[in-house]
């Protein structure tokens, strides 16, 4: 019993349950004392969930260090050398452990979100309602969207945390405690988010527009609260990434000698640091509207439903670039390794990440072309939206330039990189038709949009991140993932996915709206839907193969402690897996990061102790 309790995660979960109960109790008690009807489920659950999250963070010990410091005691970093596997199940301050924790959480979330997709995709295989009720469909669909998105944010944090300190030669992140805290905040937040299913679900989609969300069942409160808390976690984690990249670089690592992934991460973190507050705020405003009757978005009180959409998209558009910038960074990072050539036009690629991020702040209105927002805003938003194509194009052309006259090899990570490029191209090219107002009025809220964003998200995130997993798995574990299983995974997933998304666009053009549990047989899209469902299952099968591969290779994979891919990046210059504080000796940057093909060139040199 003691032993189980000593596992951080278990302790945290127990505390979360306790906290929720205490919260519900306190609120009910207060209402009783005030002479109100004691049992008001909505406020009770909101308060309980909030307290539960705080209790979790406390119970697992993510704030122990700060409490010590605040009470004037020393709080030295603990030596984690002999903790063994337990490190991964509790609070560890090592950025590599936190990175892997994020990665596992991300995989779990995406599996949950993906299974939801499989459920409602099965429902859509035929017209009429098969086995889901309308409420179940809407809840699954909405949670699929948001759980996947949180899963992406977590996955982005995984690679930023794991890679950045190693790439820039730091021993850890700038604020290791904050790092752990941010991660352990996301865990209860995810639990709260998914618990919305148990409280009646909600029927609003991941966008949660009022007034619909004001009328939804209590589940929506858990959705809002979970996302707000997870948002808090991403804010803190991106703060950490920026500070680390600015302050902890090795000697000689100037801006344009950073590995390109760091540039993408910096741009990403600028977005999540600032814009995330607004999705939090917009969600909290709806929460308050529900709890206290504040009429921000209630037309009956003079409120403005459009205001919510502005606040929401001010984050949620830039957020889509949060999903892809690190992924595109990974593509740019891996292509030179497998083409054995320098990254073409490094500086432009680096700057283009910031270009995308900055322009990305000015385009949110393109989600609202049909919303009835002020008419004169539509054209400026159309121009700004189309401008994003320019820096994105720079990346594509640079990739082509990198491949040109290379000596290209095709191990599994490279396959995923290439598929990422193709799929992201499909997604990107379907952006401009959405961006010109007149065509968007036809496309908005149809499956065309659904196709557009699955393409961008798979191409900009899922494929590159699978590439990253195959690529850095040896660094994490000292073993390689099995190549054959990897190829099976790839060939199951890629054609199936392209079929899925292409059909989404087709049925969207033909008139199928999104977010519907049942569709009109007269549209003539039943067969397409059936094929899509099958394609969805093939993707799931592919991912299952990957999971089997991962578990199997963890134990039995080919041992790979050296520079598996013959990369120039600093982390590959030392044996895998990395020791706790990364490099034994500090290094100095003496050359360009991607000078493949330049004889006798070196990126880094370890500084020998005198």
């Amino acid at each position: 019993m003691r032993k189980i309790y000593s596992i951080g995660l278990v302790r945290g979960l127990l505390w979360q349950i306790l906290g929720t109960a205490v919260g519900i109790g306190i609120l009910t008690g207060i209402r009783y004392l005030l002479g109100l009807t004691p049992w008001k489920p909505e406020s009770a659950f909101v308060f309980g969930a909030l307290l539960g999250a705080l209790f979790f963070v406390y119970g697992i010990g993510a704030v122990d260090g700060w409490i010590k410091v605040a009470s004037g005691k020393e709080a030295p970093e603990l030596d984690e050398t002999n903790w063994g596997r337990a490190r991964y199940f509790g609070v560890s301050l090592d950025h590599k452990v936190i990175g892997i924790q994020y990665l596992v959480l991300s995989l779990v979330l995406m599996l949950v979100g993906g299974s939801f997709a499989m459920l409602f995709r099965t429902e859509l295989a035929n017209t009429g309602l098969q086995f889901l009720t309308l409420m179940e469909y809407n809840t699954l669909m909405s949670l699929h969207g948001m759980v996947m998105i949180v899963g992406i944010l977590v996955g982005v944090a995984a690679f930023m945390n794991y890679l950045i300190p190693m790439m820039i030669g730091a021993r850890d992140m700038a604020f290791p405690r904050l790092n752990a805290f941010a991660f352990w905040l996301v865990v209860p937040a995810s639990i709260i988010l998914i618990s919305s299913m148990a409280l009646g679900g909600f029927d609003t989609g991941w966008t949660g527009y009022p007034p619909l969300s004001v009328r939804a069942p209590i589940g929506i409160q858990m959705f809002f609260l979970g996302v707000s808390l997870a948002g808090m976690g991403t804010i803190l984690s991106s703060l950490n990434v920026i500070t680390t990249a600015l302050r902890m670089r090795a000697k000689g690592m100037t801006g344009f000698r950073l590995p390109i992934f760091v540039w993408g991460s910096l741009a990403t973190s600028m977005i999540s640091l600032t814009a995330t507050q607004l999705i939090g705020l917009s969600f909290q405003m709806v929460m308050f509207e529900r709890l206290f009757g504040m009429g921000f978005f209630d037309p009956a009180k003079g409120g403005n439903p459009i205001l919510f959409q502005h606040l929401f998209w001010f984050y949620s558009h830039p957020a889509v670039y949060v999903f892809v910038l690190p992924g595109l960074g990974i593509i740019s990072e891996l292509l030179p390794v497998f083409a054995r050539k320098p990254l073409y036009g490094y500086k432009w690629v680096a700057i283009s990440s910031f270009g995308i991020a900055l322009i990305g702040f000015l385009v949110w209105g393109h989600h609202m072309f049909a919303s009835g927002m002020a008419e004169y805003l539509r054209v400026p938003f159309m121009y700004s939206t189309l401008l994003v194509a320019v820096p994105t194009g720079v990346k594509f052309f640079s990739w082509l330039g990198t491949l040109w006259r290379g000596k290209i090899v095709f191990p599994v990570p490279m396959l995923f990189v290439l598929a990422g490029i193709v799929v992201f191209l499909l997604g990107g090219l379907t952006g401009p038709p959405n961006a010109t107002v007149a065509t968007d009025l036809q496309l908005t809220d149809t499956y065309f949009i659904v196709g557009h964003f699955h393409d961008t998200m798979f191409g900009g995130y899922i494929f590159p991140f699978f590439a990253a997993i195959y690529y850095w798995f040896p660094k994490m574990t000292g073993r390689r993932l099995n190549e054959t299983l990897g190829k099976i995974h790839f060939w199951l997933m890629t054609p199936a996915f392209i079929t899925l998304s292409t059909l989404m666009m087709r049925i969207g053009l033909l008139g199928m709206r999104r977010r519907i549990a049942d569709y009109d047989p007269s549209l003539g899209v039943t067969i397409d839907n059936r094929v899509m469902t099958v394609a969805g299952f093939l993707i799931a099968l592919g991912i299952l193969t990957f999971l089997i591969n991962a578990f199997w290779s963890l134990r039995h994979g080919e041992i790979a402690t050296g520079n598996v891919w013959n990369s120039r990046s600093p982390e590959w210059q030392v044996p895998s897996p990395m020791p706790i504080h990364n490099y034994d000796k500090p290094f100095e940057v003496v050359g360009e990061p991607y000078d493949y093909g330049l004889p006798d060139s070196q990126y880094i040199k370890f500084i020998e102790e005198e």
């Binding site: 302050r247 640091l273 600032t274 814009a275 705020l281 003079g302």
Partner: protein, 253 residues
């Protein structure tokens, strides 16, 4: 030498406080007379600029320390500073969002509030910022007694501010959060702000306690700096909220 920098820093603090007080009085006067919203919208930026530069020392962020040893205290201190300011930048977006909502929903109208109470709590917060600055200056010159006194005053004023807003204004306001839009905006803006003041008070309390135990020295007092900068930030937010809620525009119905 040491003594002189301290007293000149104190003097500067007082001067800045004077300027802020005058600007606030001007705001109030304009509100009562012409109610030119353009002027009322500009003054907070001037006030914020003064505080950012003189009280919060924003320029410290841009000190070049390329050659400093990365393991040294000075380098880590500067890193911490960047972390703190990034946090404030992020926080700013919440308050920005609230301001946008207020502008969108209320336009040139404002909630019906007790003018003198508003001026009162604003003054309290302003004075508290002055003492927060004094506390930091004292700590820098190693004057622990003066530091403890100033920080206690800051903290008490903070609590007084909270009582003024939550205890008095919230009770006396002729509307509740659900009565009308003005009420909703008023409660959410003051609520978010009060939450920040509250956390600021807690930080100050921790610093006070640790300071009393002699944990800080004139060279090493990151805790003091952080909590004071945070406190000023919360004050700067109020510079914008005060005219937005109390001064600009005509009464909302």
């Amino acid at each position: 030498m040491e003594h002189q920098t301290k007293s000149s820093a104190m003097q500067l603090g007082l001067l800045v406080f004077g300027a802020l007080a005058i600007l606030t009085a001007v705001e109030f006067a304009i509100a009562l007379t012409t109610n030119l919203w353009q002027v009322l919208a500009v003054i907070p930026f001037i006030k914020a600029g003064l505080v950012l530069y003189y009280y919060m020392h924003i320029s410290r962020l841009f000190e070049n320390d390329e050659d400093v040893d990365k393991e040294s205290f000075a380098y880590k201190l500067a890193t911490n500073r960047i972390g703190l300011w990034l946090f404030l930048l992020s926080d700013m977006f919440i308050f920005g969002g609230l301001m946008i909502s207020r502008i969108n929903l209320l336009g040139l109208t404002r909630p019906d509030l007790i003018q003198y109470l508003g001026l009162g709590v604003t003054t309290i917060l302003l004075i508290s910022s002055f003492f927060a600055n004094r506390a930091e200056v004292s700590m820098e010159s190693g004057d622990r007694r003066q530091f403890l006194v100033s920080i206690s005053i800051t903290m008490s004023l903070g609590i007084l501010f909270l009582l003024g807003v939550l205890g008095v204004e919230w009770r006396l306001a002729p509307f509740g959060p659900s009565t009308n839009l003005a009420g909703a905006i008023f409660y959410i803006m003051t609520g978010f702000h009060a939450f920040h003041v509250f956390s600021g008070v807690i930080f100050l309390a921790i610093v006070l306690r640790n300071g009393a135990h002699g944990l800080y020295s004139s060279e090493k007092h990151w805790g003091v700096e952080a909590s004071v900068v945070y406190w000023h930030f919360v004050d700067v937010v109020w510079f914008f909220f005060y005219p937005a809620l109390y001064l600009i525009g005509s009464l909302a119905k």
